[in-house]
Symmetry: C2
Subunit: 343 residues, 2 copies
């Protein structure tokens, strides 16, 4: 059954010989863009031969010759964060219909891994990068930008750099979350922010402070999480509860941080939303099936990815295009983790 001695893959030369033409002719026949230069009959013969041999063009040779890779790199901090797979899909849906392939790399939130992966991507001649790992201060991205690497940021931005970016309208989302809680009657609302080293953490933090002030509420019930994770959300929540009292609602930096709050509620026998309300951010999958279903701010993940991909294509086609920033609208999704405060 199994072929124990796999033959070397057929080359263009093999195809040409089988079709009785020269490699140049075979090359033209196989490439849709040059096929019309040769007779239909010859083209058919070549294509048949290629089919019969199971010919696959060697993309190393092609890439070396054309210095094009038809490949784009997608840099993700952590694929196990449910936020990212839909973004990946959005990116792929656009890029693939345009003939590009997407190479996904996971940095695991580690600078060294990020550097290594991006180097690897560059050595593979990717034609552009979509980067979801930006921090406000990001020497590596700054360096790449200065080197003229074609790049679009997604979800997060770098400070003071004119790099094209697609993000959600976080400020509006946070304002909507705070308004929802204020309307329910909450007066002591806390924020468990994401890392302030990221633009999303920073923007949501600022938006939170502005929003609570606008409602005449205290703006100092804030704890920063070390990472965008459930564990760090729980740590921050414990911290908050040990240092303040009477807080009846929490705006979490994202859904994972909100899940960390759930863990602490379970530990301490608190009932959500009866004892305390929580709002997440992102609307990652399955939140509607949580106990309780989590109120959150929905970000259009797929669109985020798709728009970033479109923007990258634009940048590839038109390298001198000025950088734009696209802000996609978000929406509050009210579920059962928010209710009026107990009185």
């Amino acid at each position: 059954m199994t072929n124990p001695n796999p033959l070397p893959a057929p080359t263009l030369r093999d195809v040409a010989e089988a079709a009785g033409v020269h490699t140049a002719t075979a090359s033209r026949a196989l490439n849709p863009k040059t096929r019309r230069q040769i007779s239909a009959e010859t083209a058919r013969r070549v294509m048949r031969a290629a089919e019969a041999l199971g010919y696959q063009p060697n993309s190393f040779a092609r890439g070396l010759k054309t210095s094009r890779s038809s490949t784009v790199g997608l840099v993700i901090p952590d694929l196990t964060n449910p936020l990212f797979p839909p973004i990946v899909r959005g990116v792929e849906s656009v890029l693939e219909s345009d003939g590009y392939n997407v190479w996904i790399v996971n940095t695991d939130n580690d600078d060294n891994r990020e550097r290594a992966k991006i180097e690897s991507l560059r050595s593979r001649q990717v034609e552009g990068l979509i980067v979801a790992t930006a921090r406000l201060e990001h020497p590596l991205l700054q360096q790449l930008h200065e080197q003229g690497v074609t790049m679009v940021l997604i979800n997060r931005q770098v400070e003071n750099l004119r790099i094209p970016a697609v993000t959600g309208d976080d400020a509006t989302g946070v304002a909507a979350a705070v308004r929802h809680l204020a309307d329910l009657g909450h007066t002591r609302i806390a924020h468990l922010s994401g890392p302030l080293s990221t633009s999303t953490g920073h923007v949501r933090f600022q938006a939170f402070r502005h929003a609570v002030r606008d409602h005449g509420l205290p703006d100092d019930l804030i704890v920063e999480c070390a990472h965008w994770s459930e564990a760090d959300g729980a740590t921050a929540m414990r911290d908050l509860m040990s240092r303040t009292t009477g807080c009846t609602a929490v705006v979490a930096g994202n859904d994972l941080i909100a899940l960390g709050c759930y863990d602490v509620f379970a530990e301490r026998g608190l009932s959500c939303p009866r004892d305390i309300s929580v709002i997440g951010f992102n609307d990652m999958p399955f939140l509607d099936k949580l106990r309780p279903p989590l109120t959150t701010v929905a970000v259009p993940h797929h669109e985020l990815g798709a728009e970033a991909a479109r923007m990258l294509l634009d940048c590839i086609d038109e390298p001198d295009r000025p950088a734009r920033s696209l802000l996609l609208p978000v929406s509050l999704v009210v579920r059962d983790s928010t209710a009026p405060p107990r009185r």
Copy 2:
């Protein structure tokens, strides 16, 4: 700030000139495996020049010359299924420490996409494939296998083909699930199977039938889901409820199908586990936070990925190695979606 005219990437030639040596010497100096052929002094000079220029070897040229890509393809049906990201991480953790890069592709459960993506991977000279999309009948995989493509299956297998595979011990897992329900006193236990065209669907289906028979229970309360999805799980559950009565417990083919059951319970005002118990399969993330927390069979995702990667490395190193099948142990995780039947 931004470089408007990005220079062409420096080549080995540029490095060699800067260091005042021949390209061959530069090549040897930069490659750790040949560096000892070169005087320490020259090597240092070359490495410094490379560093200064920001030299990145062109992997097309290298791949063309060496016909090695240091790349492995990972074929995933659907990255948004939370089962897969941990598997990806497991694969990466092993392969990367061995100097390989992993190219992840998403087939979206579509044959044509799968074929196109795998063709693309092969044209990029991947040294092996880890495939998570197998069906029992799978002409494409069979063809690849016959062509001698180095390949390891993960999670699912192909029928009658000796392809190396790493999977969870599904049969034991299903038996444990049924035993748990029987011990609770359930006598009418249903199974919402995954697609029987997949080995996982088939094996779990068979194991379910054997298990209920072993307990002297009816073995005909079975509905097959069209896909491993929440929506198809819900459809199957509605189907089951319309055609049978008195069933007090469900063994779902996987966690997503179990989530579909939750949707139907919500529709019909059924309380889980009071009115009906459910068990999932896989123990995907966040199940402990569901309403109710889902009892399930935990599969070691990360290990699955890591073991498949190790097996692939073995296959690459030793092509004539006979195919083995590795069955990783699973364990029942009892949460709150299972309880004694109402009486």
